[in-house]
């Protein structure tokens, strides 16, 4: 064994183990040797009987319905500004806490600068153009959302009421050093901590932002927040707003898009090598040359199969784990909760049960059955994945 080739081999091995994509992609090439004998392997392998075919089809339908109802809940409270625009649920690609913004995936050319971004009727922020003078805000299918409190987010006309019968106190929500700040209140001295604030319908002034969107909870600034005793008067008027939603934990948000603008989705159809279809990972007979890329989702007849881990030229490796991020957990009563399998992320006083369905969603194709909860432990739950039909086609599309 000469020294140099062995060093190269060890370096490539380490590249593979550290998941360096060029090496991981290249190593898929050898699977071409498995293709000629794959048909024979399929004949020799034990076949799966699927006695619960009907039950599975029902579960797939319920997964779709659960995703649909969750999307409706996500859109609640928001409404589109005119008939040419509609509300769409879009995925968050990257939360940027330091820049106080979110990067979201949007249909190309379908969104406008300044469009409101909401979740469950809570106003989160506004779309912000990548370039200062651009009207359209999308670039490469991505747009950025300036969250409330971000100096780049525009001011919002807002109001709060002490009770339903009380006259509204109007104010302007601006950005301050401590986040969303209350300014220009219509009545001095009436700022009360704990009240919920909503957007105010200011369409009469040409503002298209609908009224009634929840902004957060009013909080009067502490005396220690205001330097100098001479500012005692302004203390009565100034306040800040505490958001009820941590926008950085959201996987999906709602915003306005042009009606009928399609998403550009890269998708392909392929099959799994029979020799690899019995394991927690599987190998597809299609790769980069067929339009498959790393992180793509793999689905079969409404069942989520896995995610592409490495795509080679003519073959890809798929891992059958759930994708990172949140999934929907559906109880037998139809209650839908968006969470991760880790118990630290579960809502308070909510504990899932064995047998509850787990749904993975896609911005275009909706919900897919990802399995049922197999075990619930102190750290979280594990999911029993549905079986793969080795003879059936698989759909692969970008996330």
């Amino acid at each position: 064994m000469t020294v140099r080739p062995s060093f190269l081999v060890v370096a490539l091995c380490l590249g593979s183990l550290f998941d360096w994509q060029p090496v991981r992609s290249g190593e898929q090439a050898l699977s071409a040797l498995l293709r000629p004998t794959d048909g024979l392997v399929q004949v020799c392998l034990p076949t799966f009987t699927e006695p619960e075919q009907t039950r599975r089809a029902l579960a797939v339908r319920e997964a779709r319905e659960a995703w649909g109802s969750w999307e409706i809940a996500l859109r609640s409270g928001a409404r589109s500004s005119d008939a040419r625009r509609e509300l769409a649920v879009v995925p968050v690609v990257e939360p940027r806490r330091s820049a106080q913004e979110l990067i979201v995936r949007v249909p190309p050319g379908a969104v406008l600068a300044g469009a409101a971004v909401t979740s469950h009727g809570v106003l989160l922020g506004f779309l912000r153009p990548w370039r200062r003078d651009a009207e359209r805000v999308e670039s490469g299918g991505l747009a950025r959302v300036a969250l409330l409190g971000n100096p780049k987010a525009r001011p919002v006309a807002a109001e709060w009421r002490a009770s339903a019968e009380s006259p509204a106190v109007h104010f302007l929500l601006t950005s301050g050093a401590e986040g969303p700040t209350i300014a220009h209140t219509s009545r001095e001295g009436v700022l009360a901590s704990g009240q919920l604030a909503y957007t105010r319908d200011a369409s009469i002034f040409g503002d298209a932002l609908p009224g009634g969107l929840l902004l957060g909870r009013v909080k009067q600034k502490d005396a220690s927040d205001i330097p100098g005793g001479a500012l005692a008067e302004s203390r009565q008027r100034e306040g800040k707003l505490e958001s009820l939603v941590d926008a950085y934990t959201l996987d999906h948000v709602v915003l306005e898009v042009d009606v009928g603008v399609p998403w550009e989705i890269r998708e392909t159809s392929c099959r799994a090598f029979a020799s690899t279809s019995r394991r927690g990972r599987l190998r597809l007979d299609a790769g980069m040359w067929n339009g498959i890329a790393s992180q793509d989702l793999v689905v079969q007849d409404g069942v989520f199969i896995g995610q592409v881990k490495a795509a080679g030229p003519w073959s890809s490796e798929v891992h059958r784990e759930l994708p990172p991020g949140k999934v929907l957990v559906v109880s037998p009563e139809g209650e839908v909760v968006s969470t991760t399998p880790l118990s630290a992320d579960w809502p308070r006083d909510w504990v899932p049960q064995v047998g509850w369905r787990v749904v993975v969603g896609h911005r275009v194709y909706g919900g897919f059955l990802a399995g049922e909860i197999r075990e619930v432990g102190p750290r979280g739950f594990s999911v029993e994945r549905p079986l793969l039909d080795p003879e059936g086609d698989l759909q692969v599309f970008e996330r």
Binding site: L12, L14, S16, L34, T276, R281
Partner: protein, 152 residues
């Protein structure tokens, strides 16, 4: 020779996959006696390439990062090659012993790589059971080694 090795390894690898489908982790890995043959009798010039191909093929069959299996088989080879002169003295028995040592080291290296990198690298029972396959193949291996291999 390498081409022949790849064809045999692909065929036996697929047999391994089928036997795994029926017997699960009790299916012996037939790549172990091949790797033992390569480690003991293969021409030194191409032994590295041959072992890389064997590890890579096993990783392809098991859908794992190839680096893990290749590294594990190279570690096992490094240990077997240290004992090579002694193993060659025992002829068939040396081959069987070499196959078991290789299987054990391969398996151990796979476990260590798995825990070091947090990636599932298959080793364990299949490899050790694969060592058993070297017993009926020992005579054949000696004949092949005398004809094409390096036995000194």
């Amino acid at each position: 020779m390498i081409v022949a090795l790849v064809f045999v390894a692909v065929f036996l690898g697929q047999v391994f996959v089928v036997s795994r489908g029926w017997f699960g982790s009790f299916a012996p890995d037939p790549l172990v006696p091949i790797a033992a043959f390569v480690a003991l009798y293969w021409p030194r010039r191409t032994v590295l390439l041959s072992l890389v191909l064997l590890g890579w093929l096993r990783a392809s069959l098991l859908v794992e990062p190839a680096g893990g299996q290749v590294l594990a088989v190279l570690v096992a080879y490094a240990i077997v090659t240290g004992l090579r002169t002694h193993l060659l003295e025992f002829r068939e028995f040396g081959y069987v012993l070499g196959a078991f040592i290789l299987a054990g080291c391969w398996s151990m290296a796979a476990v260590l790589t798995s825990s070091a990198f947090g990636i599932g690298i298959s080793g364990g029972r299949e490899l050790v059971l694969g060592g058993l396959l070297s017993i009926p193949l020992a005579g054949w291996a000696m004949n092949l080694a005398n004809r094409y291999g390096e036995t000194s």
